[in-house]
Symmetry: none
Subunit: 197 residues, 4 copies
DNA sequence: AATGAATGAGCATTCATTCAT
DNA sequence: GATGAATGAATGCTCATTCAT
């Protein structure tokens, strides 16, 4: 029965994916998931202890490697001298993730409210912010730019991430997606420091 | 006593603020609000007709002045191409709903799912997007810029709004807030069309 | 303060009368009564222990004399030889009551559901039924009428009472009321026994 | 198991019947029904979507056949002036919804306040009143009868309906029921116009 | 004495979770 | 193992009654 079990488990996960994507963690219905998986509600609880654990088992592997990727990116040092490049490095990595995990990443980012993952987006923002701050520092110094409040960089990071995931969400065609993200990078970060002069 | 006790009303609002912030409109519990306000559940309903009205009375003043501010702002002609000149106008308007902004604005924007305000952010985005499209159109034509996909403007509008609210929520000091919004406008829109060349 | 108290008590009773008439015992609102009496809700409870007792103090005197009237009418013996006359005797007495108590009698009869008086109408029906049965017996015997089931008399009594109170409810003009009841008596009871031949 | 357990459904209906009879639609408690049915409150909602639907599924079949019966009956011409001839027709129709009548019919007629059926009795009365007026008109004219107030016909209609339901509710034996209704028709309508001369 | 704010048991309904079959 | 009926705590809300002022 090992084979059958695996298949059912996958059905549940597929149905859960759909339901979490449509309604988010909190509003997702276990009954709908069971029904879409073609099994009885009681059976879902044989495979997953509860709603929380079902969500976690879908999202946790991606969460884990996503956060470790973030950590790694924190540690990449000053290779890059332009905002555009910093952001591009990060978005390229996230895109790699997306290509591999698609729906799950999107759930993790935008549909995890109420779960323990609801802060993942903020962590990503903090990464970008950290990198922007650290690596723009010298450039700003060099060009005599003085920020009144570094929070502006955090805001830029956050809103860029927002825009980034909007594009990820919108396009199914991967090359279009990349094109758009590229454009977004330009709009956001090209000659970034000059805007403060 | 002709009027209800202001202190209790304030307790309810404080408890509601906390609960709405923590759980969002939909998941907020009237019982929890009552309990945190130190009163019986029935008493909440002496002060506010129902959950909806409790939410509205917290959120509506901010909603109203905020949307009218945004509307006014974007009916001003030539706004986008000379962002500097309107920065002051915007920041002045922001003053109007500043006093109570903190948690309330956060709730309005991010915790209003299930209430009549749930689309407020999107409406603002659409408005800004519309203005961007209309007013940048001639400039783009003139300068030979051709967008591959106008969705990029929607993304820019959405992420600007995101950033805008982040700033609004962050600062208690009004002049700092103005300053930051001014800066955000520059980062986003200064020589905007040139980024596409 | 004795005088003032009496006046307030009367105001409450007047307001209660109106509310009980409009909504019936069960659906009547203590708040509405207090408000229409021009006093605070708490004060109603100084004059009447609870809703039940308020209702009772309005209705009980009428109930008591009404039932004792019914009892009396049970004991009036065979004075009357025609259905019409039996019913007329009863309705005349009830009309006397009505002239004296108007709204209260109507509340007692039709708006007392949920209170301990809810069966008063049935008692009246039973009286009429009893009288019809007893006094028609000889006439039926004489004329060779044989009822298959005496319940028909109960039904006639009940529906007559129903019609009687419909008329009482409908007309404000007393002579019109009497006229109509007279007509109803004819329709119901004139040559009553002949209908069974 | 494709269908819900018939036995539990019947328990719910039995408990609901008892509760609706005792308290009427509005005051009936779903909790009490659940408890008397020996199940949890949540379970009632597996069998019936809500209180309304529980009430409807009990009452609607009777409502439907009853109203259609009455409608049919009074589209038959010449009904009123020759009541005898239609007595059989009526009693035959009554048979159709006899089996489940008892408590249900009582509920429909007298305990449905607050539900969509609350006006059923009045509708029937109006219908009968309309037919009485229309079909007695020519007869009255012919025989020179002049009513002082047509409301008397409404009262007759109303009290007849009252008596009709009393009989329906009283008898379990169908032929007795027919017999009684037949008798009631005679008492009410035989040589009806002559009573006004 | 009078007030009316406060109370809390009660209502219908939902849904994640359990458990007898 | 699988099922889905059963559970019951929790929800928003009402209103007769109480009680501090």
């Amino acid at each position: 029965m090992q084979y059958l079990k695996e298949e059912i488990r996958n059905n549940i996960i597929a149905a859960a994916l759909e339901e979490f994507t449509k309604k988010g963690y909190q509003d997702a219905s276990m009954r709908v998931i069971a029904s879409n998986a073609g099994i009885a509600i009681g059976s879902v609880y044989r495979y997953f202890k509860n709603k929380d654990e079902l969500f976690n088992s879908i999202v946790d592997p991606i969460y884990t490697s996503f956060t470790s990727m973030i950590l790694e990116l924190y540690q990449t040092e000053g290779v890059i001298s332009r905002m555009h490049s910093i952001a591009k490095e990060i978005t390229d990595k996230v895109m790699e993730f997306y290509e591999e995990h698609e729906a799950i990443l999107l759930i993790l980012i935008d549909k995890s409210k109420g779960s323990k993952y609801e802060n993942i987006k903020e962590e990503l923002i903090r990464l970008l912010n950290y990198r922007l701050k650290n690596e723009l520092g010298p450039i700003f110094k060099e060009t005599g730019v003085k920020l009144q409040d570094e929070y502006i960089l955090y805001v830029v990071a956050a809103s860029f991430i927002e825009g980034f995931f909007m594009i990820i969400n919108k396009y199914k065609n991967l090359s279009m997606m990349k094109e758009m993200i590229n454009q977004l990078l330009i709009v956001y970060f090209d000659d970034f420091h000059k805007r403060f002069q």
